[in-house]
């Protein structure tokens, strides 16, 4: 799995008896009390930094999306279904690095909510193209706003240039990800 994480949104209810790390979690997203450790060797690992920023971002994203009954996963699927690309489930699985069976569950839920629909592929009837319905598109538009606001909030301490630079470097690293392996 993921690897350095714990990012899902937690219910707002706060246990009383034993609280583990909840005490602070509304106020902070990644402002660890353990800043002492920040100059350990791993703090310069890009992998570690990615994990940490990603984890913190997931918390914000999921919180922002909860209002729409979505999580990062379902939001991603819905977003992809909103393009005019009619992605197949397999494409969704590959693109999102998920197992095909997880896509089934995700789409089942979105379909039951009337947000997307499955249509047989025109050239290959085994595959199912996933497209958003009208209401799905409307919901997506609203959720997208919230997600973008969450992103902006998380990156508030960066300058516009830094954000642009980050985005472009990440895109480059992600999309040209593969020389020759295995």
């Amino acid at each position: 799995m993921g690897s350095l994480n714990n990012s899902t949104t937690r219910p707002a209810t706060r246990p009383k008896g034993t609280m583990t790390l909840q005490a602070r979690d509304a106020a902070e997203s990644s402002g660890e009390a353990s800043a002492r450790l920040a100059d350990s060797s791993i703090s310069t690992d890009i992998g570690f930094l990615l994990a940490k920023l990603h984890a913190a971002g997931s918390v914000l994203n999921n919180a922002a999306l909860a209002e729409f009954g979505l999580k990062e996963r379902s939001y991603s699927v819905l977003a992809l279904a909103c393009g005019n690309l009619g992605p197949t489930q397999r494409e969704l699985a590959e693109f999102l690095s998920l197992d095909p069976s997880q896509i089934v569950a995700l789409i089942d839920e979105l379909e039951h909510r009337g947000l997307v629909e499955r249509k047989p592929g025109p050239s290959d009837r085994r595959q199912k193209l996933v497209t958003a319905t009208k209401t799905g598109r409307t919901l997506h538009a609203a959720a997208q706003k919230a997600a973008q606001a969450a992103e902006a909030q998380q990156l508030a301490m960066l300058t516009g240039e830094e954000v642009a630079s980050l985005r472009s470097i990440l895109r480059k690293a992600v999309w040209s990800a593969n020389p020759a392996d295995r």
Copy 2:
């Protein structure tokens, strides 16, 4: 939750019976066959890009660390135990964004292998300071090399400047992640 993932290394053994996505997988590792989807709206989401790059990196990291009997998690803990900071388990949990109970399991394993040890906190005997043993430090040094090589491999398509820039922006985003806490 992790969020967009599936990153653990899989055993090299390949099932025979039903092969699903094997046909292509020799050619790609993250070079998705679904590059069509790359110009969807979410492809510019920094959160999404972080998830994807992090996921891909985890695979490489875990593969590189497997040789030492470590995974990203245990490697991180070992690395932190190698500093002279004597982190407590709670600090490790906060720093790594993990539940304290997960730290217990991680350290149990490292301790059984003789790589780290727990000492009672000098000022507070409830807490346990985790420090690496001599062998732990030796193993860490070797593992660190492998991890850095994996990182370099993953970012091979970026220029040195881009890598430096990425690192510094990530650090800034991670460490100043918080307006007002505590």
